[in-house]
Assembly symmetry: C2
Homo-oligomer: 219 residues x 2
């Protein structure tokens, strides 16, 4: 009698593997079209283990949203924009980076946040709240960056919230069309339309007034 292989408990690793395939499968096929059997097979996990870490399918999806989708938005949008020299440049860079990534990978699976938001927002209020918070954080990061730019004198008197809302909306909608047409070109199209627009509320445009003094309020 041979004891062939011994089991090694690895709770974190197993949880991570499940979240990996769940994130990927939910993104590719959606929540309802992904069965737990599919996930178990893809992750090489038994039902007992899956149920141990995520008692229900909803709990699994909630974890995907709060841990993975939120992180994805942070990594591809919030952090780059905050690190950019200005909000406008950050937005432009993200648009282009995403467009290029999609074009060279040959297909468009859409925005993880928007994909799940459309399918789950009306299905369950817990889902909806988690998704709405990610949207809110996303918009607030952009608005904060605009405000910082304005303090530096590099941005006009545009309303930060409006700019942020429009940016997120334009990106989300563009990704929606890119997914339907399987063509990332509309992303570039929207970016160019976005760039060709100029801010107007301050009709007399302050042209590159590089920061001279620390300013307390919006220029």
């Amino acid at each position: 009698m041979v004891m062939r292989k011994k089991r090694t408990n690895d709770p974190e690793g197993m949880r991570r593997r499940v979240l990996d395939v769940a994130e990927d499968t939910f993104q590719a096929r959606g929540y309802h079209a992904s069965s737990l059997g599919d996930l178990m097979a893809a992750a090489g996990v038994t039902g007992g283990a899956l149920h141990h870490h995520f008692p229900t399918k909803k709990a699994l999806a909630l974890a995907v949203i709060e841990e993975r989708v939120a992180a994805a938005v942070r990594e591809t949008w919030i952090d780059p924009v905050l690190a950019a020299p200005s909000a406008r440049e950050g937005v432009r860079a993200v648009f282009e980076a995403v467009a290029e990534e999609l074009e060279q990978q040959g297909y468009v699976r859409g925005c993880p946040l928007n994909n799940l938001a459309h399918e789950l927002s009306l299905a369950d209020d817990e889902f909806r709240l988690a998704l709405a918070r990610i949207f809110a954080d996303w918009r607030q990061a952009i608005a904060d960056k605009i405000r910082a730019d304005q303090l530096d004198g590099g941005e006009g008197a545009i309303d930060p919230e409006r700019f942020a809302a429009l940016t997120v909306a334009a990106y989300s909608g563009a990704m929606s069309m890119a997914k339907a047409s399987q063509n990332a070109g509309v992303l570039r199209e929207c970016l160019k339309g976005f760039e060709n627009f100029e801010l107007s509320p301050s009709r007399g445009r302050l042209k590159r007034r590089r920061r001279v003094l620390p300013r307390p309020k919006i220029g």
Copy 2:
């Protein structure tokens, strides 16, 4: 033995009733979350009748997309924009009309096209093509209107396709956020951001060059 009620065949009416509830249910719960049993119960239709008009669930959804969703986009977007005095005014009017409608009805179910597009674009190529075509028609109508405005001298040298893409993207994305937050305010926010932008490519702005010649087309 009493023959109480006789049956009356009404193919078109039955088909219409099925499409009515399918359109509504797909919009509210999505495709995968709507079972044929639900639809049959809601429509008061038996399985035989349903299967007679729509052999598969996919065929039903395809009919909803091509007949109902396309019509909804036409009625709430294409026709009003084409009938408006200008593309910009038409877009503004639609944004406001939708926002007001959502606010007074108290909840947001999202854009029918985007809802189905997100769930079905990757699931099946026939779905995807049908949805992509509706997006394309939507954008083209707006672009055509911009071109008409330009011929009338009421619009600058903005790129019509870019304007159209950005408009559809901004609306789709705004509806996505409105659905997640169950608050139509973001629609107004995006509209204001949109209005505050000015067209730039023709840096010297042609200001209100009112029509000098009789125009053959829409006034």
